[in-house]
Symmetry: C2
Subunit: 434 residues, 2 copies
Amino acid sequence: IEARDVDRLKALTIPLHEADMGDLLEALDADERRRLIELLGPDFDFTALTELDETVRVQILHAISPRIAARGISALDSDDAVYILEDLDEDHKAAILEHLPAPERVALLRSLDYPEESAGRRMQTEFIAVPPFWTVGRTIDYLRETADLPDTFYEVFVVDPGYRLIGAVALDRLLRAKRPVLMTAVKKDQLHVVKASEDQEEVARMFEHYNLVSAPVVDDAGRLVGVVTIDDVVDVIQEEADEDLRALAGVGSDEELSDTVGYISRSRLPWLVVNLGTAFISASIIALFENTIEKMVALAVLMPIVASMGGNAGNQTMTVAVRALATKDLGSHNARRVVSREVLVGLINGLVLATALGAIAAFWFSSAQLGAVISSALVLNMLAAGLFGILIPLAISRLKLDPAVASGVFVTMVTDAVGFFAFLGLATWWFSLT
Amino acid sequence: IEARDVDRLKALTIPLHEADMGDLLEALDADERRRLIELLGPDFDFTALTELDETVRVQILHAISPRIAARGISALDSDDAVYILEDLDEDHKAAILEHLPAPERVALLRSLDYPEESAGRRMQTEFIAVPPFWTVGRTIDYLRETADLPDTFYEVFVVDPGYRLIGAVALDRLLRAKRPVLMTAVKKDQLHVVKASEDQEEVARMFEHYNLVSAPVVDDAGRLVGVVTIDDVVDVIQEEADEDLRALAGVGSDEELSDTVGYISRSRLPWLVVNLGTAFISASIIALFENTIEKMVALAVLMPIVASMGGNAGNQTMTVAVRALATKDLGSHNARRVVSREVLVGLINGLVLATALGAIAAFWFSSAQLGAVISSALVLNMLAAGLFGILIPLAISRLKLDPAVASGVFVTMVTDAVGFFAFLGLATWWFSLT
């Protein structure tokens, strides 16, 4: 197909949904992608680009001329256009913008002016706003007669002459109302408004909390400047949960399957270097007890068990804490209760596991005393895991930092340190090995 | 306020959004919750219950009489009613259903008949369907004149006399069309239909992929039985990402902040027991080299570093793999490429870190040979981490199991085993310590 047959190609690809077209583009190689877009010409729907990994999208935009890119982008809703443009470098972005008609260029530049990850970047500047004295009938007539409406919309906004937002009317309310009813009479009881400068995570939280499908965006003066819709919010929710997951594992939030080996190696290295540092801290603690280990090698065999069990328990507590902080379920109102709960859970599971571990260790090395020492060390470490597994994320979030990014390192450091120190220290003291 | 003042209470709580009412209920204690609901009487909106943690919801429903619960539930949309009922035990569910009018009871029982986590459970059975010969005008008149419509809707469906789905009309298209136009002429080009028996994750995937806000649900015979809306899907997306995160850390997916200490201890214990088992495997590998360690205690000091670096690198790879599998970005079409990429990343980062680790170890123990041994062991373990960090989730997902649940145990087992074995084995051979 890739050779010439434009008609056949158009017949095959034009009925495709933009998301499926995106999948198709990702499956092709760089050269095929460029040729496909050239062959389709104006029939290529640039919305498909919003469905691609960033790497692929940037590569495609570099392969086609700025003029063609500008033509495609000008057909898009403003939120999609911003989404495509924001990842490009400044020169390339300017080259494409130059080919756009002035009013569109100005509108896009205004959106791009908002900080990254703000509502202003995610909003669509196409929306429908009517004055408060309009009736339902007049609004419907206006919708029927106006050709240049947004592609999709879920609400009609009511604004005063200064474009300040008065209310929002959901389409189902509009359809149910009689024609002579005033728009202000059918507006929603509660208006959930987004500020353009607001962080996209806050916006997502609001959509989730109030089950919204669309929300008006206002500037600092309270003027309606755009609308955020649920499809953009779904992406944010997805990204946000993914970010926490990746941060906990020390993977960069922007890593994608299509990235190169070099890029991925570099992006994962910092986390590993930090962990190398903490591993050396654990090693230095073990080094304190070199004499002890020399006299009783069984300790070297058993010590990783105490450390790793504490690490696992700390990780459980920390994961719950990080997500609860992200969804605002955990806050100062219940922190004290959750901390004592986690410590108790650590104590209970510590006692259960210590019994099992102590029995097996005692049997393995035929020493009840060794069993008692390792049991005590495990209980201490499980307590530390519960306590620091929750306190560390809480403290990091109190410092206004993201607990998902840094908690893991500190929690592992604590459970390793306490695990090795408690076990080797107790053993040294108990068996008087110095 | 909790004492008597019903009027004041109503004035304060009735304007609240259901989500805020839910937050309020969670903040109260059990007795206050019951009294608040009793005082509000028929003015209490049961939708607030859908915003609560399961534990709190079940506790409230146990505190109030089945008759009052039935009255509140019958005012809800069917998806909310099912959501509230599905967590109750059979007897309690039956007691509440008994107080419902027969047609509602039958409808709810039918929804509850669908498997848990299926589209049938999440759908709302209230929807608007019109015959294909209706015009836009007639549909709008019908919407204006019918009192008993669903609370919110985003589409009007077109069905044949046998209730088989012909098409769906988005409200914005309906509003833009002229009155005499036939409904079939404004229906969507592409219809995305959900089967009632479909898994809710599949439904969420479809909504995300095609940016939907609502989708019709059909039974096995193709008859329209309900509609799934984006607010339910957002919850599913959120839950799903959370499930992966929790599964990777070995925390039960149903654990909530309001659960008791006993419940949480029990739910976290199985994962810790499994890890205790794998920790013993690592310990047995170390035990193989007891003689070696006795002769060179520095090995005991350094060995956890090799194991933990491998564990961290394996965890990075595994996290990326688990999420990519969940979002279907990773599949048989690109598995080979991703595997070789991960192995290469492991090799590159292994070489970088091995240089640093080798230098520090050589300096610390004044032994260039020890530095060379630990470097080689680290490179081997980083290679194993890359390879098994991706192969294990792939294999588990090939077996149709959830890679998030089991991958962690196996990956850690491999990186611990390879780490200890490679380092202690190489040292034994190099320094001829037997």
